[in-house]
């Protein structure tokens, strides 16, 4: 579904909208203070404690309740680590604290792909070109067709299947995707830089895999096998969860995509507009938002990718009000609905047609 920009917004309103959103941004920047810093440090402490607790319980996981508790703690720890910590810190949301321990330039996460590679494809390519067909590789991650403006190929018939397979192996998918093999094929990336990225990936992945699938199971002695299964389960749960949140934040049926001509000469207000129309929110309680890295507020995240995540909830009503004022659709709904809608889209564009 490609959008033609409404004429009213094209002109004066686009400017006004831009100014209003800039004001929200400035308000939050001025308000950031000790409470925000305390928030992120609390999440970090909680995540590390959960991870330590989970590992300890899995070390004696021959005992079934220990297995269940350990796996659950580790899964939650990994979800927090990727979503509320990794994703948001790597966006520079906490750089303002001037804390080298919580900074986009130094943070590394528990994910197969190195932070540096991910920052390039995600922060730079995806967030700059949000939902622009042929520019935003996240629009279908090279393998899916998510818009009628993307050319249909026979392999897209199988995309419902790809999605089934991708979900539990999401971090593998992202790691491969971050290597940008498609860019090498298209001549936009050199073999040499692919080789360098590959080395970085292998180094990182070795450590991550050794930790979960060799070292901790070995340390667990007689509990080696349940420990390994616990780690595998935790990683899989994390992958399923992050895949769900990310797909539901970008691909429900009403989310718009854009052409390159459309963004030609885009103003700041129009940039905001594209971010808002190219994202979808997921409704839920505070715990849901923390576990989703506050990406349930995907619209606010895309408009303000570098504002601290704990502030999105307070920004959301203001953004929504502006959307109502200017007649901009604000795509939001509970998780089950966004999930169903995302699957609908995957199925719809698997076959040729607009």
């Amino acid at each position: 579904m490609t959008l033609t920009r409404p004429a009213a917004i094209e002109t004066a309103l686009g400017k006004e909208l831009g100014e209003e959103l800039d004001r929200i941004r400035a308000d939050i920047i001025a308000a950031r203070a000790a409470d925000d810093a305390r928030y992120i440090r609390t999440v970090i402490a909680a995540q590390r404690s959960l991870e330590a607790g989970g590992r300890a319980a899995l070390a004696v996981s021959l005992f079934p309740p220990a297995w269940a508790a350990g796996t659950a703690m580790l899964a939650v720890a990994k979800i927090l680590e990727n979503m509320e910590l990794g994703h948001n810190i790597l966006h520079g949301q906490w750089d303002w604290m001037g804390d080298p321990a919580i900074h986009s330039a130094t943070w590394e996460w528990d994910f197969l792909t190195p932070a540096e590679a991910w920052k390039h494809t995600h922060n730079h390519l995806h967030h700059t070109w949000t939902n622009v067909v042929d520019r935003d590789r996240d629009l279908g991650y090279v393998v899916f067709r998510m818009s009628g403006d993307q050319r249909w190929r026979p392999r897209h018939l199988a995309q419902p299947l790809y999605n089934f397979v991708l979900a539990p192996f999401f971090e593998w998918g992202i790691a491969l995707y971050d290597l940008e093999p498609d860019a090498v094929a298209a001549g936009r990336k050199s073999w040499r830089s692919l080789a360098a990225d590959l080395t970085g990936f292998l180094g990182k992945a070795t450590r991550q895999l050794a930790k979960d699938y060799v070292l901790f199971p070995l340390l667990a002695g007689p509990s080696a096998l349940p420990c390994l299964l616990g780690n595998l389960t935790a990683n899989t749960v994390r992958n399923l969860w992050s895949h769900t949140i990310i797909f539901c934040g970008h691909f429900p049926g009403d989310v718009q995509t854009f052409t390159e001509e459309y963004i030609d000469g885009e103003t700041r207000g129009q940039w905001y507009l594209r971010q808002i129309q190219g994202s979808a929110n997921i409704e839920g309680g505070p715990l849901f938002h923390i576990l989703s890295g506050n990406l349930g507020h995907q619209i606010e995240h895309h408009a303000f990718p570098d504002l601290p995540s704990n502030r999105y909830a307070e920004i959301a009503p203001r953004v929504r009000e502006l959307c109502e004022k200017y007649g901009i659709p604000y795509v939001t709904g509970p998780l089950w609905r966004q999930y169903g809608s995302t699957w609908g889209r995957i199925l719809r564009f698997a076959v040729p047609g607009k």
């Binding site: 800039d22 941004r25 400035a26 920047i29 950031r32 203070a33 000790a34 409470d35 925000d36 810093a37 305390r38 402490a45 590390r48 404690s49 330590a52 590992r55 966006h91 520079g92 750089d95 303002w96 604290m97 001037g98 804390d99 080298p100 321990a101 900074h103 986009s104 330039a105 590394e108 996460w109 528990d110 920052k119 390039h120 922060n123 730079h124 967030h127 700059t128 990182k204 450590r207 991550q208 050794a210 930790k211 070292l215 901790f216 340390l219 990718p305 570098d306």
Partner: protein, 362 residues
């Protein structure tokens, strides 16, 4: 004991495979910040006034502390409104004290932000960030037999670290003359301690010069107070005017070799804010390139057009792919007008312009 420490650090290396991508320190630091070595900290254990506007803080350093030499200074990070602010203060304690504590002495700058916080609103228990002690203004291993120390204001602080170290050593002691300048006796940091030391120690002479009645300390005063100054190895620390005068005086006597000075203000003195609108000179420290920038051109563009290779991504403030450390100076965020001037801060160069002279590590 050293074998034990070596073993412990080997174990931590191995354990890092279990904590990857974090380090064992990140977990130890959760139990007690002092246990983490990755980002060394010190915990305030005591705070006491020295003069109406100078305060000493005692710190218990954590595992990451690597020690210091007498005379060195310490960059200290203080958290204020969620932001870590860094300032440097001289270490006034003897290295390797029995109780393991460090002391820094903070002179309060009334219009400052960090020193009043440190001096007045830092209760015991507060955790401060530390980085390794720095500076070449130190007591050498082989001491001269006669020494002159010249200080003014808070310039006494590094020298106090040296003197206390000498006092803690066994004889023989060098013959030391300390000439210290302060507005009046009440404002003389460590005044009573030094007077008492002079009465007790035959190798120390302490002279206070008060500027309220007598004006600034001048080289002529030094010649009067310490007639054998040319024969002494000299350390001087204080405001620039005093140091300039001393350097000039020693230089003229051909004794520049025997003079060691410490200037607190190492970075260029910046013009006040209202010059911001006109941009400034930008130095790229790694490449040595220096160019003039206006107040509206992003520093990324400034650097690139001068041939500096700079990191970048989106070029529009979204991706944080252009972060570059600010060495010193002031930059302005073109989107918000926010001014950043914290040394060491990472700057988004694609949306920041010069707001006065500055240096970037690129």
């Amino acid at each position: 004991m050293p074998e034990l420490l070596a073993l412990a650090s080997r174990l931590l290396d191995v354990a890092s495979w279990l904590t990857s991508p974090l380090t064992p320190d990140d977990y130890l630091g959760l139990i007690d910040p002092l246990l983490g070595a990755r980002f060394p900290v010190g915990r305030v254990t005591g705070v006491w006034p020295e003069t109406p506007d100078a305060v000493t803080l005692a710190l218990r350093p954590g595992r990451g502390w690597a020690g210091h030499r007498p005379g060195q200074y310490l960059p200290v990070g203080v958290e204020m409104d969620g932001v870590w602010q860094w300032r440097t203060y001289s270490l006034t304690s003897v290295p390797g004290r029995q109780d393991g504590l460090l002391t820094i002495t903070v002179k309060v700058t009334p219009e400052g932000r960090v020193s009043p916080q440190l001096a007045r609103r830092t209760p015991p228990g507060t955790v401060l960030r530390l980085v390794p002690a720095q500076g070449e203004f130190v007591l050498p291993d082989r001491l001269a037999s006669r020494i002159l120390l010249v200080t003014a204001g808070s310039g006494i602080t590094p020298v106090m670290g040296m003197l206390r170290t000498l006092m803690s050593r066994r004889p023989p002691h060098p013959d030391v003359v300390l000439v210290h300048s302060a507005p009046c006796a009440r404002d003389s940091i460590f005044g009573s301690e030094l007077h008492a030391a002079r009465r007790r120690l035959d190798w120390l002479d302490y002279v206070e010069h008060h500027t309220r009645p007598h004006g600034r300390l001048a080289p002529d005063d030094l010649a009067r107070l310490c007639p054998d100054w040319p024969e002494r190895e000299t350390w001087a620390c204080g405001p620039a005017a005093l140091l300039d005068a001393v350097e000039c005086h020693w230089g003229r006597a051909g004794l520049g070799e025997r003079l060691h000075v410490e200037r607190f203000q190492l970075d260029p003195v910046l013009p006040p804010d209202h010059d911001a609108a006109s941009g400034g000179r930008v130095l790229f420290t790694h490449t040595g390139v220096e160019v003039t920038a206006d107040a509206v051109t992003p520093l990324l563009v400034v650097g690139e057009s001068a041939g500096v290779v700079m990191p970048y991504g989106c070029r529009r403030g979204i991706c944080f792919g252009c972060l570059t450390p600010l060495r010193y100076g002031r930059v302005c965020d073109l989107r918000t007008g926010e001014v950043h001037d914290r040394a060491g801060q990472m700057i988004q160069t694609c949306v920041s312009a010069a707001a006065g002279p500055l240096a970037l590590d690129a």
